[in-house]
Each structure stands twice: as structure tokens, then as C-alpha cells.
Symmetry: none
Subunit: 158 residues, 2 copies
């Protein structure tokens, strides 16, 4: 359950710990057998240092998260514009545009001002502004004229 997840996420650290423990046991064992450190403490310590430096380097390499660099590749999609308009519901769903937003979009494309749209839909001007803002975001536009252009090319409006 959780255990496996914890292990896999901290695999390197756990391996490091295990390695360290193992080494310590090995040293203890060596200590009992020979009296290495009596003669050559420097060599001994140097070896330890080297080994753990290596381990540290290995740890660092494994644990550092790579920087994510985003490369934007532009993909061109051609769209046929036909006079017999077929509403592209797929695109609407893909962009997450709601029914109400579509209504606002349609009226916007017909040249109505926000105030006029508000009047027509019996809601406040602020509401229309919110819908418009959401539309601009979803259509990746910063002006209503842009939004209209894009919506037309996506067959969201005639």
C-alpha cells in the first residue's frame, strides 16, 4: 500500500542509508580482525572519505530534480470555412466553453456592446464582463475582436 510508495519515492536515500550501515558493520568486523587503524589511520580515513564522497556525488546526481525547459512547437491546423455553418461542439468542449459563454460570444460577434448583451440576457454588466473575460482566457485572446476571429476559425460561431 503506502509502504511501497514511500520506498520508491525515497529509494536513493534508503539505499544510501543501507550502504552506510553496511559499511559500518564491515568496519566493525575489520576492527575485530585486524588492527588496521593502528598503522595507517590516514589511509583508512582517506578510504572512507573517498567512498563517501563518491556516495555523496552519486546521491546528489540521483536526487537533483532536472530543470524543466519547455519548448513550444507550433502545430498548424487548417480549417475549412464553409458558408453552411456546422457548429463545432468538440472544440467547445475541448476549450471548456459553457453554454452561457457561447451566448455571450455570439452576441459579441454580432457587434453588441457588453451593456447591450447584458440587457438582452437580463443580467448585469458585470456578469457579461466575467463571461467575456473567461472567454478571452479560453480562446487565448486579449480583445473581443481577436476572440471573435478565433471563434470563427474554430467554427464556434458562423
Amino acid at each position: 500500500m503506502e509502504l511501497r510508495k514511500i520506498f520508491s519515492e525515497n529509494k536513493h536515500i534508503l539505499l544510501y542509508g543501507a550502504g552506510l550501515a553496511l559499511l559500518l558493520f564491515l568496519l566493525k568486523w575489520l576492527e575485530l580482525r585486524f588492527v588496521i587503524f593502528d598503522h595507517a589511520l590516514e589511509v583508512y580515513v582517506g578510504a572512507i572519505a573517498l567512498i563517501f564522497t563518491g556516495l555523496g556525488i552519486w546521491l546528489a546526481l540521483k536526487l537533483t530534480k532536472p530543470k524543466v525547459e519547455r519548448v513550444v512547437v507550433e502545430k498548424e491546423i487548417y480549417i475549412e470555412k464553409s458558408r453552411d455553418f456546422v457548429f463545432n461542439e468538440t472544440e467547445m468542449n475541448r476549450l471548456g466553453i459553457s453554454k452561457r459563454e457561447l451566448e455571450v460570444l455570439q452576441l459579441m460577434a454580432q457587434g453588441f456592446s457588453n451593456a447591450e448583451i447584458a440587457e438582452r440576457l437580463f443580467v448585469s454588466l458585470n456578469t457579461i464582463k466575467t463571461h467575456a473575460s473567461n472567454l478571452f482566457f479560453k480562446l487565448d485572446a486579449s480583445r473581443r475582436t481577436q476572440a471573435i476571429e478565433k471563434a470563427k476559425s474554430l467554427a464556434l460561431i458562423p
Copy 2:
């Protein structure tokens, strides 16, 4: 001359070596003073291991080039295939729309702001505003979106 270059290029490695040497001297000195390792070899070795692990990590972080993970993001660009557009010159003459005004109208329909249009046509913002106002009057519109709608229906723009 060369020496300085060599030093700056291998700064981290040299620093590491110096640190190692220093530590070894320190240990030697400690060895002469006390008999630490007699009592607690594990602690001693553990400390060394920890220190050099840290050094290793530091070395690795300093020496290795930062990992970069490339993520390719596809950005879709929709391009409209306008098949058949026949410009209605008659209507343009009837409404008394000038060439320059038509240019502005086209850019407006493409979603450009007045400032952007001004930049593109190498004229001032005020000039574009004047053209726009004249267009609105000639097209009997009071907003750019309206003007665009009307112009499209009159086949002045695709």
C-alpha cells in the same frame, strides 16, 4: 598567466582537495591528543562519512551541469482556408471608403488593436482613430465589432 586559469577552472576540485588535506591533518592532530577511536570508532567513522558525503554532494552540485529536461509543448495554430472571397469594390465606392480606411478595416478585423495597426501602417495612433471613426460613420456602426460584421456581410473583407 596559465596558473590562474587552471585554478579558476578547477576551483572546486582544488578546494575539495584542500579540504580533504586539512581534515586529515586535523585528524592526525586529534589522534595525537586523544584516543577517540578507541572508544567510539563508529561515531568517528560516521562523522567522517557524513562530512564527506556532504562534500561529495556539494562537489557534484557544483561540478555537474544542471540537468535540463526538455518538454515539448505543442501549441496549435489554427489557420483558416478562406476559399472564395470576391472583394465587393462597388460597395466600397458606394460607401466612399478609401484605400487607407480599408487597410485599417482589414487589420481591425484581424483582431489588432488601434496601437498595433498604427505601428503596422507607420502612422500615429490618432490617425488610426480618425480612420476608425470615419469607417464607423460610413459603415453606420458605433463599435469596431459592428463595423467588422457589416463589412463582412458587404464582402469588403473575407
